[in-house]
Amino acid sequence: MTTPARIDAAPRSPFQLAFRRLLLNRAAVAGALVIVVMCVSCVLLPILLQLDPNHTQPALRNLPPSSRFPFGTDSVGRDVLARVLVGGRASLLVGLASTAVSVLVGVSYGAVAGFYGGKVDDAMMRFVDFLYGLPYMFLVILIMLMFSETARGEMLPVFLALGLVQWLTMARIVRGQVLTLRNQEFVQAAELLGASDLRILVRHVLPNVVGVIVVYATLMVPSVIILESFLSFLGLGVALSWGQLVSDGVAVVNPIRSYWWLLFWPSAFLGLTLLSLNFIGDGLRDALDPKART
C-alpha cells in the first residue's frame, strides 16, 4: 500500500488516521462526490426546474430525448428526467438506509456468534436459518397490513420489509470471517493480555473483517434498490423509484421497437451509484486496513 506510514502532527485516533488516508484516495473522493451530487440533484433539481413526475400527457408519449425532454417521455407522456430524479430520492434513501441498518444488525449479530463460537454460535445461527425459511412474501404482506391505506408510498414499511432479510446473509458472512479470525495469534494475544471481549471484537477482530463487510454492503445498496421493485409488485413499493422504472422499462426490451431511454436512464443512474459506492468501498477498505497502519 502506498499510503504514508506515519503522519506528522500529534497522536490521533486510528479512525482519524483512516479518514486522512481516505481523503488521499482519489477514486474514493470522486465516488463520494458523485453520490453527493446525485443526492443533491435528486432532491433539489425537480424543485428548481419545477418538474412534475406524474404529469401525464398521453399525446406526447414515447418521445426520444430532446431539448424539451432531455431524457425523453414514457408511454403516457411523463417526463423521464423528472421521474428518474424524483425516483432517485426514494431509491437512494431506501438503499442507503436499509443497507446501513442491515450492516449494523448483521455485523453485530454475526460477530457475536462467530466470536463466542460453539453453542452460542449454534443457537444464534439456528435462528438465522429459521428466518431464511419463513416465506418472505407473507412477511411483506403482513408488514403492509400493519400500515394504513394512506401510509402507502411511505418509507418506513418498505424499509422494514427490505431490512428484514438483508441482514441474514451479512450475518452469516461476518460470522464466517470472525470464526476463522477468532483463533489467530493476535486475538489470542489480546485475550491473554486481559482485554475485554467487546474490546477485542471492536479493536482487533472487526477491523480485519471490514474489507468483506464493505464489499458486500456496496453490492447490497443496488440490489436493495432493485428488490424494492419486487415489493411494489406486492403493493408495498414506494410510489416512484429507480427499481420500478427499471422493471417498467423491461417492456422496451423487445424485437419490435425499443424505447431505449425508458430503461437506459434509471439503469445508468443505478449503475453510477454502484460504481461510486464501490470506489468509496475500496477506499474505505484500504484506509481501515489494520495492516497498513504501521
Binding site: 463460537g117 453453542k119 452460542v120 449454534d122 443457537a123 444464534m124 445461527m125 439456528r126 435462528f127 436459518d129 429459521f130 431464511y132 425459511g133 419463513l134 416465506p135 412474501m137 407473507f138 404482506i141 403482513l142 397490513l145 441474514l168 446473509t169 452469516r172 458472512i173 460470522r175 464466517g176 470471517q177 470464526l179 476463522t180 477468532r182 483463533n183 489467530q184 480485519n208 474489507g211 468483506v212 464493505v214 464489499v215 458486500y216 453490492l219 443496488p222 440490489s223 432493485i226 421493485s229 427499471v246 422493471s247 422499462g249 423491461v250 426490451v253 423487445n254 424485437p255 430503461l263 439503469s267 443505478l270 449503475g271 454502484l274 460504481l275 464501490n278 477498505r285 495492516k291 497498513a292
Partner: protein
C-alpha cells in the same frame, strides 16, 4: 397472541437444542432420524416396514453418522414443525383466502371447497390437518389452484428442473466469479480487475429479467442460435443459466477479490513469500483458502436460493421449475403449496449451511480444532 407466545417458546426450544449434550444429541438425533425414515418408508412398505426401516435407520444413524450431522437433525425436525406452524399463522393473518375469485361465490360454495381441500377458517385447525396429512397420510396436501394434483406431484417434476438449472448456474458463477475475482485481487487495476467491476455493474444493477430479455433478442431473434424459451434440450438451458448466474457471479467475484487482497497482506503469506516459495504455491496453498471463506459463507444461502429456482427467470424463459411456486403459492394463497415450497427451501438452506460449516473446517484447520 397465543400464537406469538407459542412461536417464541418454540424458538427458545430450538435455540436450547444447541446445548443438548453430545450423548443426548446422538440418541435424540438417531431417534428423530429413524422416525423420519420410518414415516417415509411406511408409505411404500406399510406399517411393519416403516417400523423396521425406522429402527434400522436409527441404529445406523447412531453408529455411523457424525455428531455434526446429528446435531442438525436434532434441530431440523422440531424446526420444521415450528416453521410449518409459523408459516400457517402468517398465511392466515394475511388478507385474502384461496377461494376468493373475481366473481364472488356464495358462502356454500366456499364451505364446500374448504371441506374438500381441508382448509378450515382457523389457523390452528389447519395446522392440525396439515400435520396429520404429513405424518399419517404422507402427503403435502392438495394444491388448490392446480387442481387434481398434490403439492408433491407439483414439486416432484419441478424440483429436478430447478436443481439442474441451478447447479449449472451455480457452477458457472463459482468458476467464473472465483477466477475473475482472484485475478482481480492479485493484480489490482488490471484488465481482470476492471472486468470484475464491469461484471458487478451489469450483474447487480440490471435485474435478471432485463438481462434475460436482452439475451433473448440477441441470441434467438437476431442470431438465431438458441431457442427463445422452453425446456427440452441443452440449448434451452444456456440463456436461463447465464441470467441466473450473473448476479451471484458478480457478488462472488467482488468477495473473492477483497478476500485475496486481505489475505495477501497477512503474516503467513508474507512469511511464505519470504521463504522464497513459488508464487503459485503461495496462492494455491495458503492465500486461496483464506480468500474463499467469505465466498463460501455467501454461497450457503445463495446456493439454496438458486437451486430452488427463480420466479423471474422461470417465467421469462417458460421453464417448468420450482421457483414459480414460491410466488404463485403466496399470490394465490395456495396454503399447501406455500408450505411445501417453504419446507423444501428450508431443507436446502440447512443442507447448504451444513456444507458451509464443513467447508470452513476444511479450509481453515483452526476452525476444525475449535469445533471438535
Amino acid at each position: 397472541m397465543i400464537e406469538a407466545l407459542t412461536l417464541l417458546f418454540g424458538l427458545a426450544l430450538l435455540a436450547a437444542t444447541a446445548w443438548c449434550p453430545p450423548r443426548w444429541t446422538r440418541i435424540l438425533g438417531s431417534l428423530l432420524f429413524g422416525f423420519v425414515v420410518g414415516v417415509v418408508v411406511r408409505f411404500s412398505f406399510g406399517g411393519a416396514g416403516g417400523v423396521v426401516g425406522g429402527l434400522v435407520a436409527a441404529g445406523v444413524a447412531f453408529r455411523f453418522l457424525p455428531l455434526l450431522v446429528l446435531r442438525r437433525v436434532v434441530f431440523l425436525v422440531p424446526a420444521l414443525v415450528l416453521l410449518i406452524f409459523a408459516t400457517t399463522v402468517l398465511m392466515y393473518k394475511a388478507p385474502g383466502n384461496p377461494f376468493a375469485n373475481e366473481r364472488a361465490s356464495s358462502p356454500q360454495v366456499e364451505a364446500a371447497l374448504r371441506a374438500q381441500y381441508g382448509v378450515p377458517k382457523n389457523a390452528n385447525q389447519f395446522f392440525g390437518i396439515y400435520m396429520r396429512r404429513l405424518l399419517v397420510e404422507g402427503t403435502l396436501g392438495p394444491s388448490i389452484k392446480v387442481q387434481g394434483r398434490t403439492v408433491e406431484q407439483l414439486i416432484a417434476p419441478a424440483f429436478p428442473v430447478s436443481l439442474s438449472l441451478g447447479l449449472l448456474a451455480l457452477t458457472l458463477s463459482v468458476i467464473f466469479g472465483l477466477s475473475l475475482g482472484v485475478l482481480a485481487g492479485l493484480k489490482r487495476n488490471s484488465a481482470a480487475d476492471y472486468l470484475s467491476m464491469g461484471l458487478a455493474l451489469i450483474g447487480i444493477s440490471l435485474p435478471s429479467f432485463v438481462i434475460g430479455a436482452t439475451m433473448m433478442i440477441v441470441f434467438s431473434l437476431w442470431l438465431g442460435w438458441l431457442p427463445v424459451a422452453g425446456w427440452g434440450s441443452f440449448k434451452h438451458l444456456v440463456m436461463p443459466a447465464l441470467a441466473l448466474s450473473l448476479p451471484s457471479s458478480a457478488v462472488i467475484a467482488r468477495l473473492a477479490r477483497s478476500g485475496i487482497i486481505e489475505v495477501m497482506q497477512q503474516d503467513f503469506v508474507r512469511t511464505a513469500r519470504a521463504k522464497g516459495l513459488p508464487e503459485s504455491w503461495v496462492i494455491g496453498r495458503h492465500a486461496l483458502r483464506g480468500a474463499v471463506i467469505p465466498v463460501v459463507s455467501y454461497l450457503g444461502p445463495a446456493a439454496a436460493a438458486i437451486m430452488t429456482g427463480s420466479f423471474v427467470v422461470e417465467v421469462l424463459f417458460a421453464i417448468p421449475g420450482m421457483g414459480q411456486w414460491f410466488v404463485k403459492g403466496a399470490i394465490n394463497r395456495d396454503y399447501s403449496v406455500v408450505l411445501g415450497t417453504a419446507i423444501v427451501y428450508f431443507g436446502m438452506v440447512i443442507l447448504f449451511n451444513l456444507l458451509v460449516d464443513l467447508a470452513y473446517a476444511w479450509l481453515d484447520p483452526r476452525v476444525r480444532e475449535e469445533r471438535a
